[in-house]
Assembly symmetry: D2
Homo-oligomer: 338 residues x 4
């Protein structure tokens, strides 16, 4: 079976394992007082070209939920796309961490929110106590349908958000894939465009079990650290999370892995471009195959049918370590099935 189910079925890059082994000597003070954890802020500041505060957590769900809980009061609401991971795939984690804040959903092709859609949705909220108040916008980069936001698009959304007193969160579970897909900097895609806090994904792109929460505004860190501890996300042996993040940034792993995954996806997309249901901008490929083709593929390939039952759509995800031959095989079959 050749797997295209998700990039989270991949193994861990050697650079990560090596960094762990290298740090595995002697005593290191617990709970983030080790030298690797203490190097995080600096390493990410360099990557983003601005001072930041960075915290490791053990999953994307934890990263997203803690970020939201820090910036949204219980009586607030987070505007997000109806297909967002925080809405669909986290079993209510944002509601749990925020103490019951509501997610308010926005539509949009490619799982992307447009400025117009955001503005329209915001008209629903009135500044009185009967309804929850818009306090955050959360966008996913790359989106759950593989699309990317440009710096300009983010800027439009962030400007609207700021005018309404909302913070901007980016779920960057596949941030590296979105970044290498554009000729822009990490800064362009985040703080320069108005992002306040970023869930910086590592695991799907070669990491083992550490993601980062990146705050571009140090003031917002005020209660994050207490919430992280209280959520069981402050690790006693912090070095083993920190070195993953450091190796990911400092060896260029983020770039190599994302570029390879994106390139493999591009090959799949090119194998049957007329079947694409989304432009394949990053490492995810969405195709309208129809149920017959899906059934034919399912014997040899692991992948997810997508969307509502009977939609005939399928998703193929490439990871940093997807074998070339698996992509070859898929492309060959797709070419035949066209």
């Amino acid at each position: 079976m050749r797997y295209f189910k998700s990039d989270n079925t991949a193994a861990v890059s050697e650079e990560i394992l090596r960094a762990i082994a290298d740090a595995n000597h002697g005593v290191a003070l617990a709970y983030g007082a080790d030298r690797w954890s203490e190097a995080l802020d600096g390493a990410f500041a360099e990557f983003f070209g601005t001072p930041v505060r960075v915290f490791a957590v053990s999953s994307g769900t934890a990263a997203n939920s803690l970020a939201l809980a820090t910036c949204c009061p219980p009586w607030g609401t987070v505007l997000t796309h109806a297909e967002a991971h925080i809405e669909r795939d986290e079993c209510g984690a944002p509601e749990f961490f925020t103490g019951g804040a509501k997610l308010s959903l926005v539509g949009g092709a490619g799982a992307k929110i447009s400025g117009d859609d955001l503005l329209a949705r915001l008209t629903w909220f009135e500044p009185h106590v009967h309804g929850v108040q818009p306090r955050m916008l959360s966008i996913t980069q790359a989106t759950e349908r593989g699309a990317i936001y440009t710096p300009q698009e983010i800027g439009v959304l962030a400007t609207i958000a700021r005018q309404r007193g909302m913070s901007v969160h980016m779920d960057g579970a596949r941030f590296a894939n979105a970044l290498v897909a554009q000729r822009v900097s990490a800064a362009d895609l985040t703080w320069k465009a108005g992002v306040d806090v970023l869930s910086f994904g590592v695991i799907k792109n070669g990491g083992m079990n550490a993601e980062a929460v990146v705050f571009f505004d140090p003031e917002r860190v005020a209660d994050f650290e207490f919430r992280r501890k209280r959520a069981g996300q402050l690790f006693c042996k912090g070095r083993y999370a920190a070195v993953q993040l450091l190796a990911y940034l400092q060896t260029g792993l983020w770039k190599r892995n994302a570029e390879r995954a994106n390139a493999l996806a591009a090959r799949i997309a090119a194998a049957a471009p007329e079947l694409l249901s989304e432009a394949a901008a990053t490492n995810q490929v969405f195709m309208k195959l129809g149920d017959t083709r899906i059934a034919a593929l399912a014997a040899d390939f692991g992948f997810y049918p997508w969307g509502p039952m009977g939609s005939g759509e399928a998703r193929f995800v490439c990871s940093w370590d997807t074998p070339d031959e698996d992509v070859d095989a898929l492309c060959a079959v797709l070419a035949k099935l066209r």
Copy 2:
């Protein structure tokens, strides 16, 4: 500087790193559908001599809090020792995960709860809606002052708990240290004595970043799995947590590491037995040194003064990888300071 601050400053055992490297090949289905995660129940069933359900989480705080949240309603209360980790060192995580259940504190020497103390504390609660209801007992094994509960002692507590409709949780952050300190089985210390759910510690005793929650009653798992996901504690690359737990059990690492740590602590205790403020049953040594001796030691040794300011007490913790020469050095100084 020679460190005796905590066993969580230790490195990771080679057996753990090797198991991770061995599992790092190719695709593994995400979120616990990999073969290592699926082997957890069986491996722990063998270890405990009874069917169990086992789940990996990333910290002891997460293990404890999820276990409590599964068994205690928001209007319930968890009886625990006033010095318990869940009360003192988790920043309110149990309250967060349970939706605001209360911890009700019991005293007792050695951070141990006696049957009499438990019974006395239970008289405070009346079966009416004005007060929270006792629904869980949580004990720590080994305790926060290095003491151990015998199977008989646990049995007494569990019988009382059961008669009041309470579940029994054991915080086993140092379970292995407590186990090797007695000539009893893992079963004797847990389900045979009446424990319902165990936070099974691995990290302090050679692990990297995985602890286990062990349910001896499968019915109690009902909502645990949803709560785990919702807490950001279900890992997409589950194999890297699972293999840590498997290696820990199956290579005998738990035993080797705990025996060494305990033996080192025994040497320290023997160096100045008249200064001991607790019997050194496991890998923690508590000594009433007085502030002068503490100051003298602090130049060369890293350790925590303990208890309220001015108590003159100090805690020394040995880990699986504390260098022999560090223990030699500490013993020598202690002998001189007697």
Copy 3:
């Protein structure tokens, strides 16, 4: 100014005030141990023709939220209409009381959910830990757009819900209005059709500050009482809430008041039937007036424009004590504006 803003701007019926005065003598045991509170279960059992457990609370929001919290775990979701009061007008109270359960929205004309829409929405949820699980259905009777569910319609929804293991909640803030609008019994509209728990509205229909939560299944009461206390909704002087509910039922006030309010609304609807945007089944009238007519009316009448800005729709609500002359005046102007 003549007011048609809401039935919650009305005064309190004399029957209610008299009952309060009658109970205002001497000592009554606190927290529901008074004889009026103890009579609630019996009085409601008679009204509904089946044994019930009944609890007074101080607002409809409290009634709804406590009912939901009792039947839906934090990782569950409550399916409800997108225009439901619990979604739009309670500032996230359901999320707060449930510990972060999610509301999942269903569409439908008249703010009513159809069986087909419910079935379609249920296909979104998969029985895995990544998503919240459908555990409750909440419908409003009469709906937020004045429509009513028939016993048959409720039965269809409840059957679907039960097959998916979901409880059925009815927000009956205007239950009496819905009941007198049909030739059916209170039993037909609730437990006989499959409703498990009912927020039984009193305040809008002549009461002062007590609503009732009615459980048709006594087993579900298990943790409600603790949650009520914990929410500050157990009143020490319980008699003053209980007598409101008793007088409401036992003097026939519920019927007289609801019939009058519905009749007044029918007169308004009849004044310009071609402008109606909803059938005026109960005491609410929705009309597509256009912004010009709305502006013309606003000088003399207090009412709410409805729906999104620019919709041109208006809502007129009659209460038990809306003056006949106010209705006359509104009808006259509407007739002129046709």
Copy 4:
């Protein structure tokens, strides 16, 4: 049976009922936009001699919990007496409303906290993420054992609190009883001494079902109003709560009722002064009667044995409407039992 169980078994003063009847005419805008609700801030400002923001809620538990939730983050802790109502009699409501903040208990005779005890307790908390952070002090006036804090005593506590960045909450369920027991002003007992937010009790002292939350610092109101709505404590027919508070203040009812209740308690205390286990400063009398006397009294008098089983202590509470003859009877029996 003559009742001395609690002042919450009393009836409602005529002044309150009359005010309700007087307001019961015609339309009043909902949710606090009525003229009585709008008069609350002014009436309380006059009473306290300073601008305040005032909100009606339906129970003391709601008042306390909402006040705490407004000023204490989830990772904070509220220092309070071990016998405080918020700890012992609210079924965990503070934990629920705050999202899981912890109560940290302080001892002290008469259920009063001393400055020394507060300072000692504060040494337990360290400014790191492992433990909850002291953010509020909550004291009860009069205390759960009938004692009063003087302005000076409150000032000492508030100064300590302020130096640690903590807000000061006063649970004034029996505030009027404490006020008339001293020759001081309402201002002296609250904001002048450093109280930030007050649960202002009305129900026990003649009210029906409205208490007030009084903020002396308007900035703290920021999120209170959302939390109140979200807790189901914003009443649609707000006038019926507001008029209770207005009548209570403006007719001098608070004073008349409290003075009478205190005077009756003083008579009981004088009947057997050597049996007193607390000075009877307000309307509660605590006596060490021994189990024999308690049993003898129980035939004719309703009251609560107090403290742990076998303590032999009893509590007698007088209310504004306790019959003189009931007090006579109790005094006579106590005199005989001496």
